[in-house]
Protein backbone atom coordinates (compact mmCIF):
# COMPACT_ATOMS: atom_id res chain seq x y z
CA UNK A 1 0.00 0.00 0.00
CA UNK A 2 1.59 3.26 -1.15
CA UNK A 3 0.14 6.64 -0.38
CA UNK A 4 1.36 9.75 -2.16
CA UNK A 5 1.41 13.21 -0.70
CA UNK A 6 -1.94 14.92 -1.17
CA UNK A 7 -3.79 11.71 -1.82
CA UNK A 8 -7.07 10.82 -0.16
CA UNK A 9 -7.39 7.18 0.78
CA UNK A 10 -10.49 5.47 2.12
CA UNK A 11 -10.35 2.18 3.92
CA UNK A 12 -13.62 0.31 4.13
CA UNK A 13 -14.65 -3.12 5.31
CA UNK A 14 -16.76 -4.97 7.84
CA UNK A 15 -16.24 -4.27 11.51
CA UNK A 16 -13.39 -6.16 13.08
CA UNK A 17 -11.57 -6.33 9.77
CA UNK A 18 -8.59 -4.34 10.98
CA UNK A 19 -9.30 -0.92 9.45
CA UNK A 20 -8.80 1.06 12.65
CA UNK A 21 -5.85 -1.05 13.70
CA UNK A 22 -4.25 -0.29 10.38
CA UNK A 23 -4.42 3.47 10.74
CA UNK A 24 -3.60 3.36 14.45
CA UNK A 25 -0.34 1.69 13.47
CA UNK A 26 0.56 4.69 11.34
CA UNK A 27 1.01 6.95 14.38
CA UNK A 28 2.25 4.13 16.59
CA UNK A 29 -0.80 4.01 18.86
CA UNK A 30 -0.81 0.29 18.07
CA UNK A 31 2.21 -1.88 17.46
CA UNK A 32 2.89 -3.64 14.20
CA UNK A 33 2.98 -7.43 14.42
CA UNK A 34 4.34 -7.95 10.94
CA UNK A 35 5.60 -5.76 8.16
CA UNK A 36 6.75 -2.16 8.10
CA UNK A 37 5.30 1.31 7.72
CA UNK A 38 7.44 4.07 6.33
CA UNK A 39 6.37 7.67 6.66
CA UNK A 40 8.49 10.23 4.86
CA UNK A 41 11.53 8.06 5.31
CA UNK A 42 10.83 7.23 8.98
CA UNK A 43 10.39 3.60 9.85
CA UNK A 44 7.37 4.01 12.12
CA UNK A 45 8.09 0.95 14.20
CA UNK A 46 11.79 1.32 14.60
CA UNK A 47 12.08 1.02 18.39
CA UNK A 48 14.63 3.84 18.35
CA UNK A 49 12.22 6.23 16.65
CA UNK A 50 10.91 9.09 18.75
CA UNK A 51 7.18 8.32 18.72
CA UNK A 52 6.28 11.79 19.94
CA UNK A 53 8.18 13.35 17.06
CA UNK A 54 6.26 11.13 14.67
CA UNK A 55 2.87 11.90 16.21
CA UNK A 56 3.45 15.61 15.81
CA UNK A 57 3.48 15.03 12.05
CA UNK A 58 0.43 12.80 11.97
CA UNK A 59 -2.94 14.24 12.93
CA UNK A 60 -5.61 11.87 14.13
CA UNK A 61 -9.35 12.30 14.60
CA UNK A 62 -11.33 9.71 16.54
CA UNK A 63 -14.84 8.32 16.36
CA UNK A 64 -15.71 9.70 19.81
CA UNK A 65 -14.03 13.12 19.23
CA UNK A 66 -12.09 12.75 22.51
CA UNK A 67 -11.83 16.46 23.15
CA UNK A 68 -10.46 17.63 26.48
CA UNK A 69 -13.74 18.28 28.33
CA UNK A 70 -12.27 20.82 30.77
CA UNK A 71 -11.01 23.12 28.03
CA UNK A 72 -12.94 25.40 25.70
CA UNK A 73 -12.95 24.81 21.97
CA UNK A 74 -10.21 27.40 21.50
CA UNK A 75 -8.10 25.98 24.35
CA UNK A 76 -8.47 22.49 22.91
CA UNK A 77 -7.05 23.68 19.63
CA UNK A 78 -4.25 25.66 21.30
CA UNK A 79 -3.15 23.11 23.84
CA UNK A 80 -0.89 20.88 21.75
CA UNK A 81 1.06 23.66 19.99
CA UNK A 82 1.49 25.44 23.33
CA UNK A 83 2.48 22.46 25.46
CA UNK A 84 4.07 20.12 22.95
CA UNK A 85 5.70 22.50 20.47
CA UNK A 86 6.15 25.27 23.09
CA UNK A 87 5.18 27.93 20.58
CA UNK A 88 4.42 31.47 21.77
CA UNK A 89 0.84 31.90 22.95
CA UNK A 90 -0.09 34.92 20.84
CA UNK A 91 0.99 33.19 17.64
CA UNK A 92 -0.84 29.97 18.51
CA UNK A 93 -4.00 31.85 19.34
CA UNK A 94 -4.09 33.56 15.96
CA UNK A 95 -3.66 30.23 14.22
CA UNK A 96 -6.22 28.52 16.46
CA UNK A 97 -8.85 31.18 15.78
CA UNK A 98 -8.22 30.86 12.05
CA UNK A 99 -8.64 27.09 12.28
CA UNK A 100 -11.88 27.38 14.21
CA UNK A 101 -13.12 29.71 11.51
CA UNK A 102 -11.99 27.23 8.90
CA UNK A 103 -14.10 24.46 10.42
CA UNK A 104 -16.98 26.99 10.53
CA UNK A 105 -17.27 27.27 14.30
CA UNK A 106 -16.72 30.98 14.62
CA UNK A 107 -18.42 32.21 17.78
CA UNK A 108 -17.99 28.87 19.54
CA UNK A 109 -14.41 29.56 20.65
CA UNK A 110 -15.33 29.77 24.32
CA UNK A 111 -17.82 26.91 24.39
CA UNK A 112 -16.87 23.77 26.29
CA UNK A 113 -17.12 20.41 24.49
CA UNK A 114 -20.12 19.52 26.64
CA UNK A 115 -21.96 22.49 25.19
CA UNK A 116 -21.35 21.53 21.56
CA UNK A 117 -23.17 19.04 19.35
CA UNK A 118 -21.38 15.91 18.20
CA UNK A 119 -20.68 17.37 14.78
CA UNK A 120 -19.33 20.58 16.27
CA UNK A 121 -17.12 18.64 18.67
CA UNK A 122 -15.79 16.57 15.81
CA UNK A 123 -14.91 19.72 13.88
CA UNK A 124 -13.09 21.10 16.91
CA UNK A 125 -11.21 17.80 17.02
CA UNK A 126 -10.23 18.26 13.37
CA UNK A 127 -9.05 21.81 14.09
CA UNK A 128 -7.13 20.53 17.11
CA UNK A 129 -5.21 18.08 14.92
CA UNK A 130 -4.61 20.67 12.22
CA UNK A 131 -3.11 23.06 14.76
CA UNK A 132 -0.03 20.84 14.86
CA UNK A 133 0.45 21.39 11.10
CA UNK A 134 0.48 17.67 10.37
CA UNK A 135 1.67 16.20 7.08
CA UNK A 136 -1.02 13.59 7.06
CA UNK A 137 -4.42 13.28 8.73
CA UNK A 138 -5.95 10.03 9.93
CA UNK A 139 -9.71 9.83 10.36
CA UNK A 140 -10.99 6.85 12.32
CA UNK A 141 -14.73 6.47 11.57
CA UNK A 142 -15.19 10.10 12.46
CA UNK A 143 -18.86 10.23 11.48
CA UNK A 144 -19.92 6.89 12.97
CA UNK A 145 -21.20 8.46 16.21
CA UNK A 146 -23.00 11.38 14.59
CA UNK A 147 -26.58 11.84 13.52
CA UNK A 148 -27.25 12.20 9.80
CA UNK A 149 -27.56 16.00 9.67
CA UNK A 150 -24.28 16.62 11.42
CA UNK A 151 -22.44 14.01 9.37
CA UNK A 152 -22.67 16.40 6.44
CA UNK A 153 -20.89 19.28 8.18
CA UNK A 154 -18.02 17.07 9.18
CA UNK A 155 -17.69 15.48 5.76
CA UNK A 156 -17.70 18.93 4.19
CA UNK A 157 -14.82 19.96 6.44
CA UNK A 158 -12.84 16.88 5.49
CA UNK A 159 -13.59 17.46 1.82
CA UNK A 160 -12.23 20.99 2.05
CA UNK A 161 -9.10 19.65 3.66
CA UNK A 162 -8.68 17.17 0.83
CA UNK A 163 -9.18 19.93 -1.74
CA UNK A 164 -6.48 21.96 0.03
CA UNK A 165 -4.09 19.12 -0.68
CA UNK A 166 -3.89 17.47 2.75
CA UNK A 167 -2.97 13.82 2.67
CA UNK A 168 -5.92 12.04 4.28
CA UNK A 169 -6.42 8.46 5.29
CA UNK A 170 -9.99 7.72 6.26
CA UNK A 171 -11.63 4.70 7.76
CA UNK A 172 -15.26 5.16 6.90
CA UNK A 173 -18.66 3.65 6.34
CA UNK A 174 -19.79 6.60 4.24
CA UNK A 175 -19.69 4.94 0.84
CA UNK A 176 -21.03 7.91 -1.09
CA UNK A 177 -18.44 10.16 0.46
CA UNK A 178 -15.66 7.66 -0.18
CA UNK A 179 -16.63 7.44 -3.80
CA UNK A 180 -16.72 11.20 -4.16
CA UNK A 181 -13.51 12.23 -2.39
CA UNK A 182 -11.19 9.26 -2.41
CA UNK A 183 -8.39 8.85 -4.90
CA UNK A 184 -8.09 5.22 -3.96
CA UNK A 185 -10.16 2.78 -1.96
CA UNK A 186 -8.97 -0.19 0.03
CA UNK A 187 -11.24 -2.97 1.21
CA UNK A 188 -10.11 -5.01 4.19
CA UNK A 189 -11.52 -8.18 5.65
CA UNK A 190 -10.20 -10.38 8.46
CA UNK A 191 -7.02 -8.35 8.74
CA UNK A 192 -5.97 -8.38 5.09
CA UNK A 193 -6.47 -6.03 2.17
CA UNK A 194 -8.77 -7.94 -0.13
CA UNK A 195 -9.13 -5.50 -2.94
CA UNK A 196 -8.27 -1.95 -3.85
CA UNK A 197 -8.75 0.41 -6.73
CA UNK A 198 -9.97 3.76 -7.94
CA UNK A 199 -13.45 4.54 -6.58
CA UNK A 200 -15.40 4.03 -9.78
CA UNK A 201 -13.77 0.72 -10.65
CA UNK A 202 -14.02 -0.40 -7.05
CA UNK A 203 -17.70 0.34 -6.57
CA UNK A 204 -18.91 -0.65 -10.02
CA UNK A 205 -16.68 -3.58 -10.88
CA UNK A 206 -15.59 -5.19 -7.65
CA UNK A 207 -13.98 -8.52 -8.45
CA UNK A 208 -13.53 -10.26 -5.12
CA UNK A 209 -16.64 -12.09 -3.86
CA UNK A 210 -16.14 -10.74 -0.31
CA UNK A 211 -16.09 -7.17 -1.58
CA UNK A 212 -19.18 -7.83 -3.65
CA UNK A 213 -21.00 -9.31 -0.69
CA UNK A 214 -20.05 -6.37 1.55
CA UNK A 215 -21.04 -3.76 -1.02
CA UNK A 216 -24.25 -5.65 -1.70
CA UNK A 217 -25.19 -5.44 1.96
CA UNK A 218 -24.28 -1.82 2.39
CA UNK A 219 -25.36 -0.09 -0.83
Amino acid sequence: MDIMKGEVICIIGPSGSGKSTLIRCINALNDVQQGTITLEGYDVHDPKLDKLELRRKVGMVFQQYNLFPHKTALENVMMAPLKVLKEPKAEVEVRARALIKKVRLEGKENAYPGELSGGQQQRVAIARSLAMNPNVMLFDEVTAALDPETVKEVLLTIKELATDGMTCILVTHEMGFAREVADHIYFTDKGVIVEHGAPDTFFDNASDPRTKKFLGQIL
Binding site: R55, F62, N66, F68, A80, K83, V84, G114, M132
Partner: protein
Protein backbone atom coordinates in the same frame (compact mmCIF):
# COMPACT_ATOMS: atom_id res chain seq x y z
CA UNK B 1 -17.57 46.61 75.68
CA UNK B 2 -15.42 43.67 76.77
CA UNK B 3 -16.36 44.43 80.39
CA UNK B 4 -20.07 44.21 79.60
CA UNK B 5 -19.47 40.90 77.81
CA UNK B 6 -17.49 39.51 80.76
CA UNK B 7 -20.05 40.83 83.28
CA UNK B 8 -22.83 39.11 81.37
CA UNK B 9 -21.15 35.68 81.51
CA UNK B 10 -20.17 36.23 85.12
CA UNK B 11 -23.84 36.81 85.98
CA UNK B 12 -24.83 33.73 83.92
CA UNK B 13 -22.40 31.68 86.01
CA UNK B 14 -23.84 33.14 89.20
CA UNK B 15 -27.43 32.45 88.22
CA UNK B 16 -26.81 29.01 86.65
CA UNK B 17 -23.83 27.43 88.39
CA UNK B 18 -23.64 24.57 85.85
CA UNK B 19 -23.12 27.02 82.98
CA UNK B 20 -19.90 28.74 83.90
CA UNK B 21 -18.45 30.07 80.62
CA UNK B 22 -15.31 30.78 82.55
CA UNK B 23 -13.19 31.54 79.47
CA UNK B 24 -15.61 34.34 78.56
CA UNK B 25 -15.01 36.23 81.77
CA UNK B 26 -11.60 35.07 82.97
CA UNK B 27 -8.84 36.36 80.61
CA UNK B 28 -6.31 33.68 81.60
CA UNK B 29 -8.78 30.91 80.67
CA UNK B 30 -9.59 32.76 77.45
CA UNK B 31 -5.93 32.63 76.54
CA UNK B 32 -5.93 28.85 76.96
CA UNK B 33 -8.89 28.53 74.61
CA UNK B 34 -7.25 30.78 72.04
CA UNK B 35 -3.94 28.93 72.16
CA UNK B 36 -5.79 25.61 71.82
CA UNK B 37 -7.79 26.95 68.90
CA UNK B 38 -4.62 28.16 67.25
CA UNK B 39 -2.97 24.72 67.57
CA UNK B 40 -6.11 23.04 66.16
CA UNK B 41 -6.12 25.35 63.15
CA UNK B 42 -2.41 24.82 62.56
CA UNK B 43 -2.74 21.07 62.91
CA UNK B 44 -5.74 21.01 60.56
CA UNK B 45 -4.18 23.17 57.86
CA UNK B 46 -0.85 21.33 57.83
CA UNK B 47 -2.50 17.89 57.88
CA UNK B 48 -4.98 18.80 55.13
CA UNK B 49 -2.18 19.99 52.85
CA UNK B 50 0.15 17.07 53.59
CA UNK B 51 -2.59 14.47 53.25
CA UNK B 52 -3.58 15.87 49.85
CA UNK B 53 0.05 15.80 48.72
CA UNK B 54 0.36 12.20 49.96
CA UNK B 55 -2.87 11.34 48.15
CA UNK B 56 -1.68 12.77 44.84
CA UNK B 57 1.76 11.17 45.01
CA UNK B 58 0.31 7.85 46.18
CA UNK B 59 -2.31 7.72 43.42
CA UNK B 60 0.36 8.54 40.88
CA UNK B 61 2.69 5.87 42.28
CA UNK B 62 -0.12 3.31 42.14
CA UNK B 63 -0.03 3.59 38.38
CA UNK B 64 3.70 2.93 38.39
CA UNK B 65 5.03 0.17 36.14
CA UNK B 66 7.13 -1.11 39.07
CA UNK B 67 5.35 -3.82 40.99
CA UNK B 68 7.39 -3.09 44.12
CA UNK B 69 6.24 0.54 44.23
CA UNK B 70 2.63 -0.53 43.78
CA UNK B 71 2.99 -3.04 46.61
CA UNK B 72 4.46 -0.42 48.92
CA UNK B 73 1.59 1.98 48.23
CA UNK B 74 -0.95 -0.79 48.65
CA UNK B 75 0.63 -1.86 51.94
CA UNK B 76 0.60 1.72 53.16
CA UNK B 77 -3.09 2.11 52.33
CA UNK B 78 -4.07 -1.16 53.97
CA UNK B 79 -2.15 -0.36 57.14
CA UNK B 80 -3.41 3.18 57.62
CA UNK B 81 -6.94 2.65 56.42
CA UNK B 82 -7.62 -0.47 58.40
CA UNK B 83 -6.31 0.55 61.80
CA UNK B 84 -7.83 3.14 64.16
CA UNK B 85 -6.22 6.58 63.96
CA UNK B 86 -6.00 6.75 67.75
CA UNK B 87 -3.83 3.64 67.84
CA UNK B 88 -1.71 5.06 65.03
CA UNK B 89 -1.13 8.23 67.05
CA UNK B 90 -0.13 6.27 70.15
CA UNK B 91 2.07 3.96 68.09
CA UNK B 92 3.90 6.79 66.36
CA UNK B 93 4.46 8.78 69.49
CA UNK B 94 5.22 6.07 72.05
CA UNK B 95 6.75 3.38 69.84
CA UNK B 96 8.53 5.18 67.02
CA UNK B 97 9.19 8.20 69.20
CA UNK B 98 11.63 6.14 71.27
CA UNK B 99 13.93 5.56 68.34
CA UNK B 100 14.25 9.08 67.02
CA UNK B 101 17.40 11.02 67.88
CA UNK B 102 17.23 13.67 70.59
CA UNK B 103 18.44 17.24 70.67
CA UNK B 104 19.39 19.46 73.56
CA UNK B 105 16.58 21.75 74.57
CA UNK B 106 16.74 25.54 74.81
CA UNK B 107 17.60 25.37 78.51
CA UNK B 108 20.90 23.70 77.62
CA UNK B 109 20.55 20.48 79.59
CA UNK B 110 17.25 18.64 78.85
CA UNK B 111 17.19 16.15 76.01
CA UNK B 112 14.18 16.45 73.73
CA UNK B 113 13.16 14.09 70.93
CA UNK B 114 13.74 15.61 67.54
CA UNK B 115 10.06 15.07 66.63
CA UNK B 116 7.71 16.58 69.20
CA UNK B 117 4.25 15.27 70.00
CA UNK B 118 2.85 17.91 67.64
CA UNK B 119 5.21 16.62 64.96
CA UNK B 120 4.05 13.05 65.48
CA UNK B 121 0.42 14.13 65.41
CA UNK B 122 1.01 15.84 62.06
CA UNK B 123 2.81 12.82 60.64
CA UNK B 124 0.32 10.28 61.87
CA UNK B 125 -2.85 12.20 60.97
CA UNK B 126 -1.51 13.16 57.54
CA UNK B 127 -0.66 9.57 56.71
CA UNK B 128 -4.01 8.40 58.05
CA UNK B 129 -6.03 10.81 55.90
CA UNK B 130 -3.51 10.44 53.05
CA UNK B 131 -4.31 6.73 52.75
CA UNK B 132 -7.94 7.59 52.02
CA UNK B 133 -6.88 10.38 49.70
CA UNK B 134 -4.82 7.94 47.61
CA UNK B 135 -7.94 5.87 47.04
CA UNK B 136 -10.00 8.99 46.34
CA UNK B 137 -7.57 10.28 43.73
CA UNK B 138 -7.20 6.82 42.24
CA UNK B 139 -10.93 6.62 41.65
CA UNK B 140 -10.68 10.03 39.98
CA UNK B 141 -7.81 8.88 37.75
CA UNK B 142 -9.72 5.76 36.77
CA UNK B 143 -12.71 7.86 35.77
CA UNK B 144 -10.71 9.62 33.05
CA UNK B 145 -11.55 7.84 29.78
CA UNK B 146 -8.62 6.14 28.07
CA UNK B 147 -9.81 7.56 24.77
CA UNK B 148 -9.23 11.11 26.02
CA UNK B 149 -5.69 10.21 27.02
CA UNK B 150 -5.16 8.54 23.67
CA UNK B 151 -6.11 11.80 21.97
CA UNK B 152 -3.39 13.58 23.96
CA UNK B 153 -0.97 10.81 23.06
CA UNK B 154 -1.84 11.14 19.37
CA UNK B 155 -1.08 14.87 19.57
CA UNK B 156 2.43 14.10 20.74
CA UNK B 157 2.05 14.81 24.47
CA UNK B 158 4.63 13.13 26.67
CA UNK B 159 3.35 11.03 29.57
CA UNK B 160 4.09 13.83 32.03
CA UNK B 161 2.38 16.44 29.83
CA UNK B 162 -0.68 14.23 29.50
CA UNK B 163 -0.78 13.78 33.27
CA UNK B 164 -0.52 17.45 34.20
CA UNK B 165 -2.68 18.87 31.41
CA UNK B 166 -5.36 16.25 30.98
CA UNK B 167 -5.43 13.38 33.45
CA UNK B 168 -4.96 15.29 36.68
CA UNK B 169 -7.32 18.23 36.01
CA UNK B 170 -10.08 15.79 35.05
CA UNK B 171 -9.40 13.39 37.93
CA UNK B 172 -9.40 16.25 40.42
CA UNK B 173 -12.88 17.30 39.36
CA UNK B 174 -14.17 13.78 39.88
CA UNK B 175 -12.37 13.43 43.23
CA UNK B 176 -13.40 16.67 44.90
CA UNK B 177 -16.69 15.61 46.53
CA UNK B 178 -15.10 12.56 48.16
CA UNK B 179 -12.01 14.55 49.08
CA UNK B 180 -14.23 17.12 50.73
CA UNK B 181 -15.70 14.41 52.98
CA UNK B 182 -12.35 13.01 53.95
CA UNK B 183 -10.82 16.38 54.78
CA UNK B 184 -13.79 17.21 57.00
CA UNK B 185 -13.20 13.95 58.81
CA UNK B 186 -9.54 14.80 59.16
CA UNK B 187 -10.26 18.14 60.82
CA UNK B 188 -12.47 16.37 63.34
CA UNK B 189 -9.92 13.61 63.89
CA UNK B 190 -7.30 16.17 64.98
CA UNK B 191 -9.05 16.11 68.39
CA UNK B 192 -7.60 12.64 68.93
CA UNK B 193 -4.18 14.26 69.24
CA UNK B 194 -5.27 14.89 72.82
CA UNK B 195 -4.09 11.32 73.48
CA UNK B 196 -0.46 12.36 73.04
CA UNK B 197 -0.98 15.65 74.87
CA UNK B 198 -0.96 17.92 71.85
CA UNK B 199 -2.32 21.19 73.30
CA UNK B 200 -5.10 21.59 70.75
CA UNK B 201 -8.59 22.87 71.45
CA UNK B 202 -10.08 19.74 73.01
CA UNK B 203 -7.00 19.33 75.22
CA UNK B 204 -7.27 22.90 76.49
CA UNK B 205 -11.01 22.61 77.05
CA UNK B 206 -10.65 19.36 79.00
CA UNK B 207 -7.91 20.98 81.09
CA UNK B 208 -10.20 23.90 81.84
CA UNK B 209 -13.07 21.74 83.00
CA UNK B 210 -10.71 19.61 85.03
CA UNK B 211 -9.70 22.82 86.82
CA UNK B 212 -13.23 24.25 86.98
CA UNK B 213 -15.87 21.55 87.01
CA UNK B 214 -18.59 24.20 86.66
CA UNK B 215 -17.26 24.97 83.15
CA UNK B 216 -17.85 21.50 81.71
CA UNK B 217 -21.21 22.10 80.02
CA UNK B 218 -20.10 25.47 78.76
CA UNK B 219 -16.82 24.11 77.39
CA UNK B 220 -18.56 21.27 75.53
CA UNK B 221 -21.05 23.67 74.02
CA UNK B 222 -18.30 25.94 72.81
CA UNK B 223 -16.38 22.94 71.43
CA UNK B 224 -19.36 21.88 69.34
CA UNK B 225 -19.90 25.32 67.93
CA UNK B 226 -16.22 25.84 67.22
CA UNK B 227 -16.00 22.60 65.23
CA UNK B 228 -19.20 23.39 63.38
CA UNK B 229 -17.65 26.71 62.38
CA UNK B 230 -14.25 25.22 61.47
CA UNK B 231 -15.70 22.42 59.37
CA UNK B 232 -18.17 24.89 57.90
CA UNK B 233 -15.33 27.11 56.67
CA UNK B 234 -13.53 24.11 55.15
CA UNK B 235 -16.68 22.80 53.47
CA UNK B 236 -17.51 26.25 52.17
CA UNK B 237 -14.03 26.61 50.68
CA UNK B 238 -14.18 23.16 49.11
CA UNK B 239 -17.60 23.84 47.61
CA UNK B 240 -16.38 27.11 46.18
CA UNK B 241 -13.41 25.33 44.66
CA UNK B 242 -15.69 22.66 43.19
CA UNK B 243 -17.90 25.35 41.71
CA UNK B 244 -14.92 27.18 40.24
CA UNK B 245 -13.63 24.04 38.58
CA UNK B 246 -17.05 23.11 37.27
CA UNK B 247 -17.08 22.77 33.51
CA UNK B 248 -20.39 23.05 31.63
CA UNK B 249 -21.36 19.66 30.28
CA UNK B 250 -18.81 17.71 32.32
CA UNK B 251 -19.65 15.73 35.43
CA UNK B 252 -22.98 17.11 36.58
CA UNK B 253 -25.43 16.61 33.76
CA UNK B 254 -27.20 19.89 33.37
Amino acid sequence: MIETFQDFFRSVADTYPKWNFIFFHDPSQWERVISGFYVTVQLSVVCVILSVVIGIIGAWAQGSPSRIIRWVVQGYIQFFRNTPPLIQLLFFYFALGQFTPTVTGPDGWTEQPIISNVGWAIISLSFFAGAFNVEIFRSGLEAVPNATLEAAEALGFTRAQTYTNVTFPLALRVSLPALNNNLINLVKTTTQAIAIAVPELLYEMVSIWNDYASAQNAAMTVLFFTYIALVGILAFGMNRWEARLHVPGFGKTS
